[in-house]
Structures are given as structure tokens and as C-alpha cells.
């Protein structure tokens, strides 16, 4: 059986988990086994409706103490759940919480793990998972050599797929261990789309000259419903917050569309964005290295091109 970990925040299931369900369901079909989910805590989503992503059964440990993430506690509860359900493969989203617990659960289950998988495993001869390595500059095909296997999947690599179906919900009772951390403050950036969950990203570099010029980036992001990002020197100079820094030493993103404005395309920047499906580069220097990694490009001054592009997109949506 394939067991998919369903991650929630603020009692809402994350989009990355819907993708993990779609992936886990496809894998279960490939292996000829059932696709089941495990949810810790309580959510407001329609749980039977998870069937439309391919989930056949959901095990829920419906204890409100689990509405706050605690890596050690979640590791123990998930390990017990996986053992009780006799799972042969566990699937996680390679999101922030998945990174914190999937390897620990693997260790507890004596399972081999591949994190950051890009596609369904090849199960024709063993169990081989492809993942990105060297910050997106290459792929590795890795065999998992243990009976139980754990995979965490890169966000936006598989997509969310829907079908007809409804899923059974079963309560699972597990003794919750004592909390190992105490959350004292939470700060959410209101009204912004989290970068790692975004389908569309508009990113600005040093070519924008200063923080006072970010209005044109934000306007474009707004008409598209995109998240905003930036290059490292931009966040190092405090023009933009650190969490917007993408690249090898920042956030790695893989949206459907990445628009890079006034960014030269240094190798360390590309390492964080080269899994994007479509890359658009707007740069006044035709020799900027970013054009070599781009699908579409405009050689021009951002201060002229961006407002025109924003207006054109607005018009096309009207």
C-alpha cells in the first residue's frame, strides 16, 4: 500500500499535498496496490472529496494537538501509522515540513529514502527514483534497496490531477507523545503568495537600481497573481526580504512561469530557477547569460517594458 502524508497549516490542506496525493495514487496504480492517506490533526477541507485526487482511504488522527507541526511528535505518530497500515511506500511533498520529517520517518522504518523526486519511479527492475542534484544542474537515478521505501516529491513536478471518486475516512487512534517544541510566535506575510507554492513568479535583480523601483515588479505580479522573488544581491542589500532570495543559496522554485527582470543569470541564480517550465528574461543587455537559459526574452529597459507588459496582460485578461 502507498501511504501519502497530507500536510496542513492553519487547518487547511496544502496544495503541495494534493500533488503528493496525485503522485501517490499514480504510483499505487503502477504497483497494483491501494492509495491511502494519513492526516494529522483536524482540517476544514472536505475529506471525502480527496477521492477526486485518487485517494481511496484516509486515516486521520483527529487530535487538535496535532494542528501545530512538531517534527519529533509527527515523526513518531507517522511511524506508528505507517507500521499499523503496513505501508510499503510512503510519499511526502518535498515542502518545508516534508523536509523536516520524511528522512526521520525513513530511519525509523528502516526504509531507504529519496528526497526531491521529479517523476514516478521506474519499477520495471527494482525501484529507481529520479531526483535533481547539484541544485538543478543534473539528475541522479537512485535505487532504493530496502523493502519499505520513502519518496518526497519536488513541488510542481507532477501536477494536481483530478478524477471521479470519493474516499473513505477512518479515525486512527495513536497516543500522542509530549510536545518537543513550544511555538511562541507566528508571523505570516498577509496577502502574499508563498514563493514555494507559486505557479507564477516575477523576480527582480540589481538592474532595478533600488527598492523604490519595485512597484513595477509588484504591479506585474499582481495582474498575473504571481509571487515576487529576487536575486541574492537584492536581498543582501535589504532591498527585499530574505525569503524572496532565489538561487543555489536561497529558495529553489519550479513554477510554470518565471519572469526574470534585470537579473544577469549567474550560475548560482540559475541553479534555483532552472526547473521552471517557462522562463522569460527581460534585460537591457543582449549578452546577459540569462538569455541562454530562457525560453522567451525581451532585450530592453525594464522601466519601459514592464509597465507595457503589465498593461498588455491586463488587457488580455479583460
Amino acid at each position: 500500500m502507498v501511504l501519502i502524508y497530507i500536510d496542513q497549516a492553519d487547518q487547511q490542506i496544502k496544495k503541495s499535498s494534493l500533488e503528493a496525493i496525485s503522485y501517490g495514487a499514480a504510483l499505487a496504480k503502477q504497483l497494483g496496490v491501494s492509495a491511502e492517506g494519513i492526516l494529522l490533526g483536524t482540517v476544514t477541507d472536505d475529506l471525502a472529496g480527496l477521492g477526486k485526487y485518487g485517494l481511496q482511504k484516509l486515516h486521520q488522527v483527529a487530535d487538535a494537538n496535532l494542528n501545530h507541526f512538531d517534527a519529533k511528535v509527527f515523526t513518531q505518530v507517522l511511524t506508528e501509522a505507517a507500521k499499523a497500515a503496513n505501508a510499503s511506500v510512503l510519499v511526502f511533498a518535498h515542502n518545508l515540513n516534508g523536509k523536516a520529517i520524511a528522512p526521520a520517518v525513513a530511519v525509523k522504518l528502516h526504509a531507504g529514502i529519496v528526497t526531491g523526486a521529479n517523476s514516478l519511479p521506474d519499477t520495471s527492475n527494482g525501484f529507481t527514483v529520479t531526483k535533481t542534484v547539484f541544485s538543478g544542474k543534473a539528475f541522479a537515478q537512485i535505487n532504493i534497496d530496502t523493502p519499505v521505501k520513502v519518496i518526497s516529491i519536488n513541488q510542481n513536478c507532477f501536477g494536481v490531477h483530478t478524477q471521479e471518486g470519493s474516499c473513505a475516512v477512518e479515525a486512527l487512534s495513536i497516543t500522542i507523545p509530549a510536545a518537543s517544541i513550544k511555538v511562541t510566535a507566528t508571523h505570516k506575510v498577509e496577502g502574499e503568495i508563498p514563493l514555494t507554492e507559486a505557479n507564477l513568479v516575477v523576480s527582480g535583480g540589481r538592474g532595478l537600481k533600488g527598492p523604490e523601483n519595485w512597484g513595477i515588479i509588484e504591479d506585474l505580479a499582481k495582474v498575473l497573481g504571481a509571487a515576487t522573488a529576487c536575486s541574492r544581491p537584492v536581498s543582501d542589500s535589504d532591498w527585499r526580504p530574505h525569503h524572496e532570495h532565489v538561487g543555489q543559496t536561497g529558495v529553489q522554485v519550479a513554477p510554470n512561469l518565471y519572469i526574470a527582470v534585470g537579473i544577469s543569470g549567474a550560475i548560482q541564480h540559475l541553479a534555483g530557477v532552472n526547473r521552471s517550465k517557462t522562463i522569460v528574461v527581460i534585460n537591457k543587455d543582449p549578452e546577459a547569460p540569462f538569455f541562454k537559459a530562457a525560453d522567451y526574452g525581451i532585450v530592453g529597459d525594464a522601466f519601459e517594458v514592464l509597465p507595457a507588459l503589465t498593461a498588455a496582460i491586463q488587457k488580455s485578461k479583460a
Partner: protein, 247 residues
């Protein structure tokens, strides 16, 4: 207060990535090795800052690797840290690596174990989490701020769309990322001092690998950029909608 900082050796960020032996081995020819930036800039420098604030802090560094990892561990010692341990085995299997570190950690009774958020070569983000599983310790991942207060640490960590601050009772494991500390450059005094700091080499414990690398591939090259004139943004919008189906 005893800190253990995990240090990994990775290719320089500008390295050309290539493979040999029928795409089954990373080609190390001409590769410059650096300390994994997350281990160095964030985990190690934050540990050094804590020692500067409280001289009762001792810092041990640990690396899992063969003799060719020594220049990297000496460089880390030049930045700061009291002594280093090298566990003499090269492995691409996170479980093997984490098990070696866990064995050292058990012996050393550390209060705090720090790792970088991931290495820039395998990007697995596994070691901190695996250590928490192996040692049954609390784990706070993707931390961008941390202060110590007696036997608790106050840690700020990234969550989707924001940050959360939490308190954790030591011993604990924390993985570090940007925000934690500022990059430093070793000075002459540090480099001289590092030469005589203890670097203990220990033999690995026996553990069975759980994964094996079959082969590597390079991503297919982009077919080439389509340029659109700066005064024809409507054409770009059309291409993005109709051809790329980007929105």
C-alpha cells in the same frame, strides 16, 4: 554547552557538472571543493558567534569523508571551532552518513547539533532529520535565527508564507539557512591556529546503505530563446498564453 557542527565538502558553486564511467560517477576533474555554504555561512558562523558571547561554549566539527576532506575541515577550523572529527568513509547514502554522525553525537553528549539546511550537491536535506530519528531528539528545520537561554533555544524557522518562533529544550538538532549569521572570511590568526587544533580521525561504524546511485543525467539543453521586440509586448503575451500555456 557543547555544540556539534556538521560540515560537508561540496563542489564550488561555479563548478562545471560532468560525469564519468558511463555517467555513474561525478567527474571530480578540476573541481574546486568548498565547505557547503549552508554549513559554513549559517551553522558554523552562528556557533562561533555563540562562543564569542559565552566562552563556556565548545564547538566540535564533524565531517564524514576521506582524507581529501581535510583541507575543508581545516578551513572550517580556521573560521572557528575547537576541534574536529573526521569519520573515515565516503558515502552517497544519507543514512550511512547520518548513522556515522549519530555514533559520534551519542559519545559526545552534545547539547546542540547544527547542520546546514541541505548540501548544494545532493540537495537531500536529510541529515538533520535523520539524526533526530536516530537520536530521538527534537528537530527544528530551516532556522534563520537562534538564541540560547540556559538549556533552551529560541529558534525562528521558515514556514510556508511566513515564519514561526519556537522554544526547544536542549539537547536538540537545528538545520540552518540564510538569516542565521553573516558570511565570514578566515583571518591569518585563525588559519595559523587551525594548523594545531586537534583533528581526530575515527573509523566508521558498520551500516548497510539503503540506496545506491544507478546513474546521472544532464538536463536537456534549452532549444534557444525566442526574442520578442521591446515594443511588441502583446506578442510575448500571446506566446505565453497560446504556446507556453503559462497562464
Amino acid at each position: 554547552m557543547k555544540l556539534l557542527v556538521c560540515i560537508s565538502k561540496t563542489p564550488d558553486t561555479t563548478s562545471k557538472i560532468a560525469f564519468t564511467e558511463g555517467n555513474t560517477k561525478f567527474d571530480e576533474n578540476g573541481v574546486q571543493w568548498i565547505i557547503n555554504p549552508y554549513d559554513e555561512w549559517y551553522a558554523l558562523v552562528r556557533a562561533i558567534e555563540m562562543k564569542e558571547q559565552d566562552p563556556a561554549v565548545t564547538i566540535h566539527l564533524v565531517t564524514v569523508g576521506e582524507a581529501d576532506a581535510e583541507p575543508i575541515i581545516r578551513k572550517a577550523l580556521a573560521l572557528g571551532g575547537d576541534e574536529a572529527i573526521r569519520i573515515n568513509i565516503q558515502s552517497n547514502d544519507s543514512f550511512v552518513v547520518a548513522s556515522q554522525i549519530a555514533a559520534i553525537a551519542k559519545e559526545g553528549a552534545y547539547d546542540l547539533i547544527l547542520t546546514g539546511k541541505e548540501t548544494i550537491d545532493y540537495n537531500s536535506a536529510c541529515i538533520g532529520s535523520m539524526l533526530s530519528g536516530l537520536l530521538d531528539l527534537p528537530y527544528v528545520s530551516l532556522a534563520n535565527q537562534m538564541t540560547l537561554n540556559g538549556n533552551t533555544a529560541s529558534v525562528k524557522r521558515e514556514i510556508e508564507g511566513g515564519e514561526e518562533t519556537c522554544e526547544v529544550t536542549l539537547p536538540a538538532i537545528v538545520s540552518c539557512q540564510k538569516g542565521m549569521a553573516e558570511q565570514r572570511i578566515p583571518n591569518m590568526r585563525g588559519i595559523m591556529a587551525a594548523r594545531t587544533k586537534p583533528l581526530k580521525v575515527v573509523e566508521p561504524i558498520a551500516v548497510q546503505a539503503t540506496t545506491s546511485i544507478k546513474n546521472y543525467d544532464l538536463p536537456p539543453a534549452k532549444s534557444g530563446v525566442k526574442l520578442v521586440a521591446a515594443d511588441n509586448v502583446e506578442e510575448l503575451v500571446r506566446l505565453l498564453k497560446e504556446e507556453a500555456k503559462a497562464f
